[in-house]
Amino acid sequence: MRMPRLTAFLTATAVFVSAFTLAAQAAEEVHVLNWKGYGADEPWAVANFEKATGFKVVNDFFNSEQEMLTKIRTNPGLYDVVMINAAFNDQAMAGKLIQPIDVSKLSNYADIAKDKAGSPMLNHDGKVYGVPWVWGLTALAINEKSFDKPPTSIAEMWDPAHKGRVIIRDDAVEAVQFGAIASGQNINDIKDMDAVKAKLTSLMPQIKTFWSSENDWNQMVASNQIDIGTYWSGSADRAKTHFKLPVSLVIPQEGAVAWLDAFSIPVGSKNVAGAEAFINYMIDPKFYVEWVTKVGAPVSANTKAVDALPEDAFNRKVMGSPDVAKRIQFQAPVTDEQREKYLALWQELKVNVK
């Protein structure tokens, strides 16, 4: 009795898996690869897009840029749209993982800010390999309960008053670039690694714990366990708008790390038309305003989308101000060699803390 049932079960599994694989190859589906909870998988957005275009969206997620690159490398032809941080676009293009995009098919492309659309990180040999979507900052965020008035300097993290109530992300590149800002250096051309190391070493005793997801950060604030820490601008906005937490973003006078997220089309995509339609929808002002209002989001690369926000909106008023633009430094590609060096430093710091 047992064996036939097992065989039946195995057959059923096999049939199910192959049916699933077949379905995945259907042309009218758009397979999107992005961070989880990052706009493209919002149920209302997916529903709107599907109703308007007739394509079906299938979302898949990654937890780190390396995982994203591995996923497109190991599943050629599976994905139609992939969200790539501009600093990684070079690497993806060099690995022949993404193809040039025909921007004339994207009606919203013309409204993208010229400096973002023309970014040398996304354009190679006169061809567009990435459509700028949103940009944001890795800056500081504070627990409003712990401050009478928001701090202005990054040095606040080192203030003994906050000992054991500081949080930073468990990420080598981010930590090192943050240390570069604190020691007054260019994040893309760090000359004095010892200064960075000294800064981070003295920060370690201040730290409560490391965060790796938005959820970690928000829980620490909800239970009032931290005062200040590094955070992403879009996440701080979501924490305030969506989760009603006492969080506000601080862009320190010393500067902040800026990043640009863009959409690309992988080589071998089976539904380029669907991919173009999806990317165009993602940079549409209507989608963006709804995303900001309902959930909270970083700043759109589309100037018309930002202008569609209320005048006092954080993403328009603060992030759009020329004063902020002067202070921020956009992240350039990081080589594997640098990455390994940063990781070694970061691990050493974490081990010596004991």
Partner: protein, 289 residues
Amino acid sequence: MADQLAIGSRRGLRPALPLLLPAYLWLTVAIFLPLSAMVFFSFMTDLPLAGKEWAFTLGNYAAFFSQSLYSTLLFASLRLGLEVTLWCVVIGYPAAYVLAKVLKGRSREAIFLLVILPFWSNGLVRIFSWAMVLREGGILDTALNAVLPFKINIDLMYSYPAVIIGLVHSYVPYMVLTCYLTLQAIDDSLIEAGRSLGASRRQVLWRVIIPLSMPGLIAGAALIFVPVVGSFMEPRILGGRTGTFYGTVIEDQFVAVFNWPLGAALSFILLAVVLIILALAAPVLRKAA
């Protein structure tokens, strides 16, 4: 006599084959093959993905010896394993003794259930529950301050003790179970004989009960020590900035930086070290048992 034995063993193996097959098939497919792939990866410069070049190298193993970082972490993890095992013995052994020798019937079943109960819940749920208990303003802090006349501040979260507490809680049922089984098998009349021959309670414990239950203690200790040395979830969640251990660095190699070859090499070094420790301990333990 010899013929009979031969027939007996042949008879023993053939009917047993269908019974063994599922387990060994499963072990081959689910453990042996992936593990072999990992051994292979650990000698490579890069993963053999589309368009990536790779070669064989010993560099991943050399990395362990060229940087003091990894050996420091390995020692920290071994110490963690020893401490957790010790606490499990201290807490688990008396409980197992009471279960096996003192309680009878219904009350034994009830207490047994209480010991095993946490075992049935998901590990992550247990760890996050500890996070709620241990943090400042958490359940322990609030409860103690409500009872005590003076104000104390309990914030164990994100510290080494928190990691120990979480791990001991997760693993103590192993110790209780293995010790319970051996303690229960000790004939009560041996204890009575010892007592009637003039041994004190303490002497009976040291000369009769502990030696006879040693196999259970050793099995429990090995079951606890090995996974704790490689643990990464508990240190990461409960340890905060002090939560970097050998296991978390291996996890980072796989999840955060996608350096599978180095992660695999580090894992096999851990496996080798654990095997050496168990092998060195074996003669001593066998004698004790």
